[in-house]
Subunit: 549 residues, 2 copies
Amino acid sequence: MLKSPLQIERGKYIPKMPTSLKGIVKIVEGEKTQSVADQDQIKAMFPNTYGLPILKFETGNEMKQYPAYKVGVVLSGGQAPGGHNVISGLFDGLKACNPDNKLYGFLGGPSGLVDNKYKELTADIIDEYRNTGGFDIIGSGRTKLETPEQFDMVHQNCKALGVNAVVIIGGDDSNTNACILAEYFAAKKTGIQVIGVPKTIDGDLKNEVVETSFGFDTACKTYSELIGNIQRDANSAKKYYHFIRLMGRSASHICLECALETQPNITIVSEEVEKKQMTLDQLVSEIAEVVVRRAEKGLNYGTVLIPEGVVEFIPEMKILISELNDILAEHEAEVAVLESNKDKRDFVASKLSKASSEVFNSLPNNISNQLMLDRDPHGNVQVSAIETEKLLMDMTKAKLKQLKKDGKYTGKFGALGHFFGYEGRCAIPSNFDADYCYTLGYTASLLISEGKTGYMASVKNLTKPADQWIPGGAPITMMMNMEKRHGELKPVIQKALVELDGAPFKKLVENRESWAMNSNYLYPGPIQYFGPASVSDVTTQTLLLEQSK
Amino acid sequence: MLKSPLQIERGKYIPKMPTSLKGIVKIVEGEKTQSVADQDQIKAMFPNTYGLPILKFETGNEMKQYPAYKVGVVLSGGQAPGGHNVISGLFDGLKACNPDNKLYGFLGGPSGLVDNKYKELTADIIDEYRNTGGFDIIGSGRTKLETPEQFDMVHQNCKALGVNAVVIIGGDDSNTNACILAEYFAAKKTGIQVIGVPKTIDGDLKNEVVETSFGFDTACKTYSELIGNIQRDANSAKKYYHFIRLMGRSASHICLECALETQPNITIVSEEVEKKQMTLDQLVSEIAEVVVRRAEKGLNYGTVLIPEGVVEFIPEMKILISELNDILAEHEAEVAVLESNKDKRDFVASKLSKASSEVFNSLPNNISNQLMLDRDPHGNVQVSAIETEKLLMDMTKAKLKQLKKDGKYTGKFGALGHFFGYEGRCAIPSNFDADYCYTLGYTASLLISEGKTGYMASVKNLTKPADQWIPGGAPITMMMNMEKRHGELKPVIQKALVELDGAPFKKLVENRESWAMNSNYLYPGPIQYFGPASVSDVTTQTLLLEQSK
């Protein structure tokens, strides 16, 4: 494999680990756990994996003989920086526990477990991927493991290969399914353990035992680099507003973290939009107001951060999208025969409720076309494909035109749009993510060797230097509650949205007026893997603020 | 000014300089020069600044007393990483030459010289901006200095302030104008010297005496970081083609350099498209062919690099755009009253030549709409606003659909578009650009102190360690030839396009088949300012290949 100079140097990096994992390790049981809500229901559904104690690994004094394992590992869902380090930490940990341990990678995501596609991960393969970005070592996929038929296939395949533990690296849904699988295997007395690892750049898999999901640090730093560069450009050229949409559909953690790193003029947080029950027009008015006030100071440039999923948090847009899904399903053929987009829009608008048709007609044509025409394979509006930055640019422009007519605005407004997502999901993991992921993988190997199942690898005390980190395991059931999914109540890991009374959001609110009216831009620059620890070893503002409370 | 951790650490960086500039410096005259072409005409137009010798600065042994200067500096045109270092090198050099020297920054680009907007740049201001990206220290602008009236204003303003030397940091056009201004001032015996500094991320200001323009290194590395990250994502998810458009309208140096850094599957080079007189359909067919052949190997993902300006290099598109400019100017009112875009397109198509109307009708609607509707203030098609990546994505998709129908393609094609430009123009300068720019500025201070005018600061031997660099000056007239601009022959600095027989392009051609069919992706990662020199101090592949010939 031909490698870039940085790839070569990163290959030599030795991830930092907690002191407690370096020599002889002992396991310490903590308190028994309860699920975050709906205890009775969750307990009934997970008789074998409910109520387990929190686990911690500490320095021990008695050398332990661990049994030999064959472990399968799977990468589930969207890429996040550090996945390869979880696998290399898992590999090294397994070899340290018992040199006879073997590691198999199931290929292309959870479907690899069902379809029995795998390869053995040996030292020479692992060494090629240490401290690299991407999930390409074994690939990833979005197949959901949730039916008994799938579980039986997995059981069969594991049995045939002799695999007696499976590590699932994924987000909240994948870890929910990991837990269901663990329970299923336990109930069937298959002897196969299942351990989860918390992955997602979105940052929405976190709770009292999981301080952060891996990849969030690196992805946010990559986006912040770009936002900072754009801000410096805006501040130099002084002629454009940059509307920057950031990945993260359900929660606005990425947007908030990047705002704390770069101090842009306007930051939209979906959770706040929903809390205030804002209309699209109100959101646009708020942006326009800042533009007007900056223009009064002679500042006709700036930056706006927009979370990818914000339209779904605007109540009227949510209703509109839901109505569109129904109308387009019912009238597909009628819409298809209409020749021009204008005719299609008029037809669709005539079928919408009065409120929704008003919203629909207020949208720029390119956006309403997109809502009508870009459908996913199930025929639904593709919310993630909506170019929300252009929607808001166009609507802000229209609003400012009106304000100019009314004599309330005399500035100049030029806007450019950006979307960042794929740019950060496979970045070379930061030192934090390289260390954190390696430790997570290593911890997973110990949970397996100790015979545990239904646990998620957990590493706490993350804002301290790595040698003081506290590795352990948390029963996945403790993170669960009952939620409606496709009309049915299901046990799921509670998603962590941005808390409007949390320290990170409060910091944004405290500074909002100053950041809006001045140009207090911060320029974080690219991720540094070498150099002073103040630059290369610091984690996210989100985690620092949350943990300092 | 609140600063990020990296901003703080970069503030401490001491740029590396050639040994020859570190102690006592002497100036050495080289050979007299000729312009690259049209010698008689250029000589006649520049009687005072033509035919001057190449200059070099070497270690001297006799301390020199330089006269005191008041120097004005201006940033012209688009941002490029390192502008602040040119200014800090200039400042430090001026203070070293004579502690009484003063530096004034003219604000907002060349218009600052005309409108007499300036501020004195003192040590405390300079110190805030050392090794930072952006042009915000004094701002930039695109006003062209080219009329005698403007020159007289500049003269008046300089005289009033006592400024007796002006440094213009800009691209080929700005340096052409710097030379015209130098000649004008010399002819009028104003005693005001003019020195140019070669800036542009586009990399198209280079020749035998200017090895590269500053900013190219940092901008390309920033784009390459992102391309590498996206490639790792493509290679992990294995389901998307990423069409990535890169800034650089006239020349494809950025695209070529990024290709050499990242090894994508397809790289479009505008100069080759023009040389081969390709049609849009041919270009799309070439992309589709690679997609088909990769699909046959089971690879339904990849990357395509597209230079921003490519449509202008496709002969039929160039003609179409030119016809559109004329038609829309003549029939503006008639087009405006038509209600739907379809009607507008039909009207416009009816006025085009047969060949152009065929091309126009072959374009996806969103692109033909853009060509018709997005006009610059002069009413012309905004070529830089054309979303060429989407054009090529849509047309490739249509082509593949046809191939599928014909039984020649059985793969899956999903595509995502990206555009990178503003993300790199104000990045924190790489060590190379920080050192190079500082040295350029320092060299400019010596050219001034030696009483030179009409020179561009030049630093050669750039692929060697900085202590071996050779600083000097090159008469700007030597880079000039006569070219038609707006129908008139003008003396201009010859733009450096990608040479199709040059080493960088040849390397692409040699590897094209292998990079297309395999996934030989390189992942350069983000710019590193610390760490091993192999990572942090290496310049572009373009420069390394050009200089190794």
